[in-house]
Chain length 209, copies 2
């Protein structure tokens, strides 16, 4: 005769509830912004009493900070698809595909990031000045190498990066506007068409096609 299932360890309960809260928080912060979001809304969506949120995250700002940090991690991982490519067609093509996939799978995360940056990055300014700046500098050198090797036109690398970010994240941040003009949410085929359009226009735009 076996015992009843062992209750979850403290660390497991903690992790489970943290995940639950973070998922709800991402959605609420994306829908309402930091100021418009309320702990009560997040608690309701997570199915927990409001007081529990303050047990796991001392303040609303702590919770928001974690949401933004998590998004930033996803962002950086996608960036790896650009490296170790023989040229811009493969590297930038893969980067566009990865960024479009994130826009599709994590639209709320993209919106929270956009919200944070739009309002002056009060929480993640240090990330912009360190991690993002270093990453950007590395990719600029990568692109300059491709240009020097004659694999693409001599475009300004920084503005190419801005265009890549803008074009891909637009499908998440302005997804509601796009869905309205589209007459409904994008289908699988719509997303494929969108990704192909962005890839074709940008790769041809930098003279890589």
């Amino acid at each position: 005769m076996t015992e009843a299932p062992r209750p979850l360890r403290r660390t497991e309960i903690r992790q489970q509830n943290e995940t639950l809260i973070l998922q709800a928080a991402e959605k609420v912060f994306a829908e309402a912004g930091f100021g418009g979001a309320t702990m009560q809304l997040i608690a309701d969506m997570a199915g927990l009493p409001k007081a529990n949120l303050h047990y796991y995250f001392a303040t609303k700002e702590d919770l928001y900070r974690r949401v933004v940090q998590d998004i930033f991690e996803i962002w950086l991982q996608a960036a790896e698809s650009m490296d170790q490519a023989p040229g811009p067609v493969e590297g930038i093509g893969a980067y566009i595909e990865a960024k479009m996939e994130i826009s599709r799978r994590h639209p709320d995360g993209s919106k929270v990031w956009a919200y944070e940056v739009m309002h002056g990055a009060p929480v993640i300014q240090d990330y912009l000045e360190t991690t993002l700046r270093e990453w950007t500098a590395g990719r600029v050198r990568l692109i300059e190498g491709w240009i020097a090797a004659g694999k693409m036109a001599p475009v300004d690398p920084e503005h190419l990066l801005y265009m890549l970010w803008a074009a891909t994240q637009h499908y998440a941040d302005f997804g509601h506007q796009i869905a309205t003009l589209n007459g409904g949410p994008l289908t699988d085929a719509d997303w494929q068409r969108a990704t192909d359009s962005v890839k074709t226009m940008i790769l041809r735009g930098i003279g890589a096609l």
Copy 2:
């Protein structure tokens, strides 16, 4: 002997104060979002007592609605630069220049618009479904005509429009991130370089160069 300067008419006072309030509101809504903005902050920035705001705009939401509507008007005016052009090089080139100029001159307006759309367009949903949808349909036909005339590659017109909006508005909405990476606000030369980069990459991307 002349009389003392005539006091302003009621309608003049009204218009003057409305403008004052709307300018302050645009800035505060852009910096804090709808939820984060407070009537007190807007009143302080406009140099008026808080109660006066409620005299001119009954509720915080009414004030916000006016700000978003005003931005939408600026947006539509810029769109006219695209029409009556012989081809995409002139038409889309002029549109990019107009949109970049707006991103530079009205970054707060662009941010409030982005904020509104990102959060599901609760206030201007009807504009998206009527005015913007009609405008978009018209430009799609314009682009299709250019494609049929062999003046540009057969790109998907909708996704070209999204890329135009994304690439240009990015310089307003993510201006803080760009400034951080740039080591400071963009100079005149930086803006010229940015505009040229966007124009070159997109026009080449659609096979018009």
